[in-house]
Symmetry: C2
Subunit: 185 residues, 2 copies
């Protein structure tokens, strides 16, 4: 008896939910495009950063690049991977607009989205920790605030974090939206 | 017609799925206890770390604490918050063992689990970036490897990361298991 009632609910909810699910699927596509552009911009902004100071000594070359700090290299690679994943996931996202009842592929995307979110959060927060150190330095550890010398380098690296954090927020919304779409069927 | 077939599937899967869902709910409880102990251990290990070197000068006191580095403070706070959340979530986890068909509370827990995973990933990877810097230093930025002096401080902080990363893996498994339990109903 319980099974039959649930069945009736499913068919009714199926008719009502299809339109709403299509709306969610279109929003999903838009969010993926925006998130992809954000991570691409982050990756390029960080990857092309370098600054050479207009003075030098015999021993030290005052030049700063993203690859001087391994954390920034990780940041660029992670953003590039997530951008690539987002471009590939657009195909499935378009399939979800056409077939708004699909469930298996949605669960597949939620799992990959969660993995991408984890990778991006790790990269962005590690880079943020280093950027904070570059801005403020640390007197206890005798780490100097290199931003006092490398001003434009610091502004560029700080700015490139924004794209990643925008993408993180979008990923959280994407996962919640997929959850709603899956549980509605 | 489609609705009626789905209804039949639901009632059959409901009878079969209840036992499996109870198994998943018990595993959920165990994972939450282990994850809570891991984050608690991380928090305490990092929070009680300090080392005073057996020599000092007039100007510099060679003492290292976790609170010297803001990232480590964030790490301790984030781990404490996640521990508190895990303790509170045990109540709902026990409810899921008894009422293995619950759906709304499971979705509620998945959302909070994802938030906790994000917080923990951010804290652990930021702390890992700083620990890496403390071990290796950075010649480009003139940041010295403080681990050469503060040996036991560094070992303790590095070790305390393990608990957080164990908890991150457990959270990912928890979210996947909840996803399976929700989609099975």
């Amino acid at each position: 008896m319980k099974g039959r009632i649930e069945g009736g609910e499913t068919s009714k909810a199926g008719l009502k939910g299809h339109g709403a699910n299509r709306g969610l699927a279109i929003l999903d596509l838009v969010f993926r495009v925006v998130a992809g552009l954000s991570t691409l911009a982050s990756s390029i902004a960080m990857g092309t950063t370098n600054e050479t100071l207009p003075f030098f000594t015999q021993f030290i070359r005052f030049r700063a690049e993203y690859s001087d700090l391994p954390t920034f290299t990780f940041f660029v690679i992670a953003n590039a991977i997530v951008t690539g994943y987002l471009v590939l996931s657009l195909a499935l996202s378009i399939v979800h607009i056409i077939r708004s009842g699909a469930k298996g592929t949605r669960i597949f995307l939620v799992i990959l989205d969660t993995a991408a979110l984890g990778l991006l959060t790790a990269a962005a927060s590690a880079a943020a920790a280093i950027v904070y150190l570059a801005h403020k330095g640390n007197t206890s550890a005798n780490w100097f605030a290199i931003c006092q010398q490398f001003n434009s380098f610091c502004q560029r690296t700080s700015g490139s974090l924004i794209g990643s954090f925008v993408a993180i927020v979008l990923f959280i919304l994407l996962i919640l939206m997929s959850g709603v779409a899956i549980s509605r069927r």
